[in-house]
Amino acid sequence: MISCQDFITELGNLLDDDVASEIREQLEAHLAHCNTCQVVYDSTRKTLRIVTESGSFEYPEPIAEPLVSKVMDRIRSSCEPENPVRK
């Protein structure tokens, strides 16, 4: 029977669905009788869902065009040998 610390160590792989079937069986057996790990697993899984679906750190549309222009200005000036680009 695995310990809670063993379960936490394998939690990342379990969340990524990257565990061999025999290990998964052991983890699920642990979950069946350990309420603490059940809560940690459930809430971490939901945390991941919330993070991935939150649309966080998106590109702010109003600054998109000026940024494209800035990038292209720097690129065009880097193509001119007499006017090397400065970072």
Partner: protein, 396 residues
Amino acid sequence: MGFLPEVDDALTADSLTTLKRNFGLAPRLYRAQLLRPDLLDAQVRLLDRLLFNKGALSRVQKEFILLAVSAENNNSYFPALHCQTLQFLGVKPEQSQRVAVDHREANLSEPDVVLLDFARKLASSAHSFTDLDVEALRKSDFNDEQILEAVLMVGLAQLLNCIQFGLGIEPDFKPRINLPAKEVNPPVVSERQIPEPELADDFVSDDPDFEIVARVQNGDADAFEELVRKHGRRVYRSLLGILGKPDEAEDALQDAFLKAFQHLSNFERRSRFSTWLVRIAINTGLQRVRSRKEFDSLDEDDEKFRPRNIQPWSDTPEEFYSREELRRLVEREVMKLPAKYRVALMLRDLEELSTEEAAAALGLGVPGLKARVLRGRLMLRESMVQYFSKAGAGKS
């Protein structure tokens, strides 16, 4: 599971012990053959004699042959199994993956490259196999006993591949390698007879940016604008996650695109342009973070992290917040994480890079990257309890 029903408890104790000792588990391939334990025992004895017992070739060389031939066959079951086994034998997963995709780019010794050339050709073009191929191994100092073992290993790989395809066995491990389309890794013989000097032999053929990149590489700098528009969002998001400040992310975005433009002549299409670009962006962001000395504890071993807040969450705790509230809340809490955990978590869970890609981008091994991602996830969970537990839902 497979095309035939499984029968439990028929595997003899000896076979089970042999398989577990050498693979760490009894692979599904063998569990699926329990209808005939006598034939299974015979296969396990063959494996024991050919693969597990000490022979003229090293165990790693034998595993490389099994891996390369399975990859040559576009088999998805065995590459995962052999990469795992090679990891037990001390070979880094990145190197095994390179052997599967193209052994010539896997930093192998010259004799091992010749050995895998031999194995792939025998597996894919046996009809054109001649004594010259055997001679090539002799020239690389392989003796006849080793050559015999190499031929038998190719035969073993073909047998195992055929059994897996025929029985429809699903992988024991999640496949970590996306094998490229067949033409990416052509049989050795066709490579020699029909040279294609314009294309690298591990050229990525399905890159949607191929045409634009080619135009820019041919001198049309304006065409790069399309790439900036198309990938700006992803680059910005990576950088904002790493740097945390919109104005710094904007500056770094400009630097990253400029670097990509200036180095585009070196881009050899071994990956998609977008993957290559994101790596440049991540490196640009990391350089800035490092200069802030936030990464001081980069190489410290992590102490064990114990979740403290054990309050149950409701089924859909996000429904208590608007989309905009959720976005802000996630950004705020992610940015509170220490940089090394935040960046690892960002790359895996927001940029959705594979574990291997994220590890490579951060210069970490896979176990190190996994440890940081898990720590980041657990810390984030801890800080989210106040908003999403049954007791705290709706508070922001």
